[in-house]
């Protein structure tokens, strides 16, 4: 089987067949799911998987840091914290303990585009989880004391993740340099000054605006009876009142960058870092898929171009990678490296740009393209093992692509990408005028 498949690869290369006929080694099973829209606007997706008697429940609120206004950054993430502070029938801090006391796990995270609350519980506790989620969606307690106290926890989170880590500010630096207008300019955790300036009214207003059923997708994956689960969703989440106003989506667009930007910053880092970024498109755009392939050719595995050139062959970098950050609105492709002692950031920058230019000039080889597709198939399969992973893929397709069929469909889209597609998107996006080059140097100079 394996040998025959290899032969087909070679053959296809020689006679120039469309790569679409080169199926990857194995096609993962397709998702079966049901999609329901409740009268209050909430969307529910049910995916049955009876292999283990557990169920994962995720609520995706379509609000992230990009929905925040200047001067009020950090709200989406702060709300992720506040949602554990009690609601009409659930005492503060008890959400996680109650889930734990039945043997479940619960947590939440915030991105630029979404705020996600999840729990995995033994399957008989599906009603409990939905009941608690509905409770905090409808009746979150928001008071001055909680607000002020939880703000201190968020400040510690920021110190821990960003301020007290070598390279912890790397992301922040990249985005504040690359964006001028779109809220992707500010970090998800936001500014502590903004959080300090926030009033209780601001917080309540944010809740009333974004924490409404029409802004929520619930995905349930695991061992349940579909009709019963749908009934429970209707019973608990269905009774949350419909919002009186539509969720605002007036997010400012980023104007096209006209000329290359270059920045040198001094930070608390042990070794210099170099970032070469380009403005690209959004997740789900037809160009997004070849950009992912370009990233794989550049840096997935030890045979990838950036690893080979910067780490293996020249020893320029301790670590180096290229990545397409494809999210809901146009974002960045960036190649980055940590510069080894004795090597210069200039040489590292030159090597990174040379690799991006090479894709533009030469494209990728048939073998590299097939390698990337095989690696994509691997990620796809290994990324859908647990009920939580499955639910996440379904939610991502529904909320960020506004098209649930992509949860499966992306597999085939990737397998059909051609060499010409990759070369074309490199030509479109890896231009000097869309480039941002950042050198992050150790404070106090090189040792």
């Amino acid at each position: 089987m394996t040998r025959r498949w290899r032969w087909r690869v070679v053959l296809a290369t020689v006679i120039g067949l469309a790569t679409g006929v080169l199926a990857a080694a194995a096609r993962p099973p397709k998702f079966a799911y049901q999609r329901v829209t409740l009268p209050n606007g909430l969307v529910a997706i049910l995916h049955q998987d009876r292999s283990t008697p557990i169920v994962n429940i995720q609520l995706w609120y379509h609000v992230g840091s990009k929905d925040e206004r200047p001067g009020r950054t950090g709200f989406a993430h702060f709300f992720e914290h506040l949602m554990f502070k009690g609601s009409r029938n659930v005492e503060p801090e008890q959400h996680t303990s109650i889930i734990a006391s039945v043997g479940g796990q619960a947590n939440a995270y915030t991105t630029e585009d979404t705020t996600v609350f999840w729990q995995t519980v033994p399957s008989q506790y599906l009603p409990l989880a939905l009941w608690m989620e509905a409770d905090r969606l409808a009746t979150l307690r928001i008071d001055q004391d909680t607000f002020v106290r939880e703000r201190e926890v968020v400040k510690e989170e920021r110190r821990m993740r960003i301020e007290n880590q070598p390279y912890g500010r790397l992301n922040e630096i990249i985005y504040e340099q690359a964006f001028t207008t779109h809220p992707y300019r500010h970090p998800v955790i936001g500014s502590m000054d903004d959080l300090n300036a926030a009033t209780l009214e601001d917080v309540r207003d944010f809740y009333a605006t974004y924490y409404v059923p029409s802004n929520v997708t619930v995905v349930i994956a695991g061992d349940f009876d579909v009709a019963e689960a749908e009934g429970l969703v209707r019973q608990y989440l269905g009774r949350v009142p419909k919002a009186e106003r539509a969720v605002p989506r007036d997010i400012p667009r980023e104007p096209a960058q006209k000329a290359e930007k270059r920045v040198v910053v001094a930070e608390n880092v042990p070794l210099p870092a170099v970032v070469v970024a380009h403005h690209i498109t959004y997740d789900g755009h037809p160009d997004a898929y070849p950009l992912h392939i370009a990233a794989k050719v550049l840096s997935d595995g030890q045979s990838s171009r950036i690893y080979q050139r910067l780490v293996y062959q020249s020893g320029l970098a301790l670590t180096a990678f290229g990545q397409a950050n494809l999210i809901e609105h146009p974002n960045l492709f960036y190649a980055a490296a940590i510069v080894n002692p004795g090597q210069s950031p200039e040489a590292v920058e030159k090597a990174l740009i040379a690799e991006l230019d090479r894709i533009k000039a030469e494209g990728v080889s048939p073998r590299e393209l097939q390698r990337s597709k095989n690696q994509f198939a691997r990620d796809y399969i290994l990324g859908r093992e647990t009920v939580q992973q499955k639910a996440t893929h379904l939610a991502h397709a529904e909320v960020l692509h506004a098209d649930i069929t992509t949860a499966d469909g992306e597999f085939d889209i990737f397998q059909n990408i051609t060499q010409a597609d990759v070369k074309r998107v490199a030509g479109t996006y890896f231009t000097p005028q869309s480039r941002v080059v950042i050198h992050i140097m150790p404070k106090g100079g090189l040792q």
Binding site: T52, N89, S101, G103, E156, R159
Partner: protein, 485 residues
């Protein structure tokens, strides 16, 4: 019983204003009752030993068309010879940098093209090689794994490359406060016992390693009678075993050198402050010696540590985060190794709160030793452990890892499915008996990595009169006073 205790947690009077209108119409009610519980069949697995002593685990499960292979070799950084710290780590890193007839680049190209993944590394007691392939590539993947485990070439150019990478990584880790705190607390607790030594070596020891060292370490430890191999995923057990026989059946037994570490030293109750003047937070570690994994009281000790700072319990999180907002996270871990172990609590807090956070952690150690754990608290912790067990074996890979762990620590694998009896067999009295001898507030070692001058003067008043201060640039894990000369 469970439903009532939940009700008690939720139905108290709401005193604060929720969003007004909704709240008025929203019912006040008890949480819903659970549905009928669904039975969990413990997934099947097979354990076999080949004629050459290689222990093999097979878990057959065909939901996804992938197969994962995990090998464990019973030698890790604890087996680093004196003066050769980092040998196990660097040996493991070199395994896939040239093996059998393939160069490092050929190996990388072949693995990547298959859409496979290959990784190797070393921990404290063991080294590992992990491979994932799509199901059609099983024999190819196993062949590569056999080369990597049995026939690494240790090419001089690759050794130099990995050495440079290891040296750069040490440079970065030396300025990472979490990493520094972890290394120093282990060195304090275990002293100069192998478990106290840095597995990633020091710049001097890494520079001193030679090709002969790697060859010798590999020859001594990477033998079938010192290894375990799990094959997991979309393959029948017969096919899995046939492949293993083909690629590992002729692997020759070897004589593994005996390992007889001295006991860890008596606790010294030191407080080490690693000074990092530009820090905005202090990394805090507090701990003492624990038990080896095979200890008869492992289950009860583990539960008492979870109550102190683990999943399903965690008093530290309750006090430090929920009540006092001093941190984003606090926890305590029971690290159990083959020969010994440690209990280590950790958190981080902004510099001005350092002493208060430390004081609270130490108080929680004392409270656990002094007071009996309440029935409710233990019941909740055990309910979590029992209920969440199926989550921990959801994928075949997770199950195989648990089986490998049991085999590695020479524990009976037949006990795995008896998780409920094992967990619920521990009583509050048992926890208290355990806490009395196990939890030792008087023997705690303390490490603080942060801006020392902002808090050292207050440590004395908080009951820590003897403080040793080490500038981060002068930290030397191999000297008794942690100071480079």
């Amino acid at each position: 019983m469970r439903v009532f205790s939940i009700a008690a947690l939720v139905l108290t009077v709401a005193t604060t204003a929720a969003v007004a209108q909704t709240a008025q119409q929203w019912p006040r009610e008890f949480p819903p009752r659970p549905l009928q519980a669904r039975a969990m069949a413990f997934p099947p697995f097979e354990v076999k030993t080949l004629a050459n002593g290689l222990t093999v685990v097979v878990v057959s499960q065909n939901e996804q068309p992938a197969i994962s292979m995990r090998m464990i070799v019973r030698a890790g950084s604890a087996q680093d010879p004196k003066g050769k710290l980092g040998l196990a780590m660097l040996t493991a890193a070199l395994l896939d940098q040239g093996a059998g007839a393939r160069s490092a680049q050929q190996l990388a190209e072949e693995v990547d093209f298959m859409g496979a993944a290959l990784g190797s590394g070393a921990g404290t007691d063991l080294s590992f090689i992990n491979t994932v392939v799509m199901k059609d590539d099983y024999l190819n993947g196993l062949g590569i794994m056999a080369d990597v485990a049995r026939r690494p070439t240790f090419v001089p150019a690759e050794i130099e490359r990995q050495r440079q990478q290891a040296l750069s990584a040490l440079k970065v880790a030396a300025e990472d406060p979490e990493s520094v705190a972890d290394l120093v607390v282990e060195r304090l607790i275990f002293g100069f016992h192998p478990y106290g030594m840095p597995g990633s070596g020091t710049a001097d020891t890494i520079r001193g390693l030679t090709r002969d060292d790697f060859v010798a370490f590999h020859r001594q430890h990477f033998v079938p009678n010192n290894a375990l191999l799990a094959v997991v995923g979309d393959i029948t057990s017969a096919d899995a075993l046939r492949g293993i026989e083909q690629h590992f059946g002729d692997w020759a037994r070897g004589t593994v050198p005996p390992f007889t570490p001295v006991d860890p030293p008596q606790p010294t109750r030191r407080v080490i402050v690693i000074d990092r003047p530009d820090a905005v937070q202090t990394e805090i570690r507090v701990g003492h010696l624990g038990i080896p994994r095979k200890h008869a009281d492992f289950e009860a000790v583990s539960q008492s540590v979870k109550i102190l700072g683990g999943e399903g319990g965690n008093r530290l999180q309750g006090v430090l985060r929920s009540s006092r907002q001093l941190t984003y996270g606090a926890s305590a871990d029971l690290n159990t190794y083959k020969w010994s172990g440690a209990i280590i609590a950790q958190t981080n807090t902004q510099t001005p709160n350092t002493v208060e956070a430390l004081r609270l952690i130490v108080d929680e150690f004392a409270r656990l030793q002094r007071e009996k754990v309440s029935d409710n608290e233990l019941e909740a912790a055990q309910a979590y452990a029992v209920g969440s067990y199926p989550l921990s074996i959801e994928t075949p890979d997770q199950l195989a890892t648990q089986v490998l762990n049991m085999l590695f620590y020479e524990l009976p694998v037949d006990n795995l499915p008896k998780f409920r009896e094992r967990i619920e067999g521990v009583s509050p009295e048992e926890i208290q008996r355990i806490a009395r001898w196990f939890i030792r507030p008087d023997q705690l070692s303390v490490v603080l990595v942060g801006n020392a001058s902002a808090f050292v003067d207050r440590l004395k008043g908080a009951g820590f009169p003897l403080v040793e201060r080490v500038p981060i640039g002068r930290l030397d894990l191999l000297s008794a006073d942690f100071l480079k000369p």
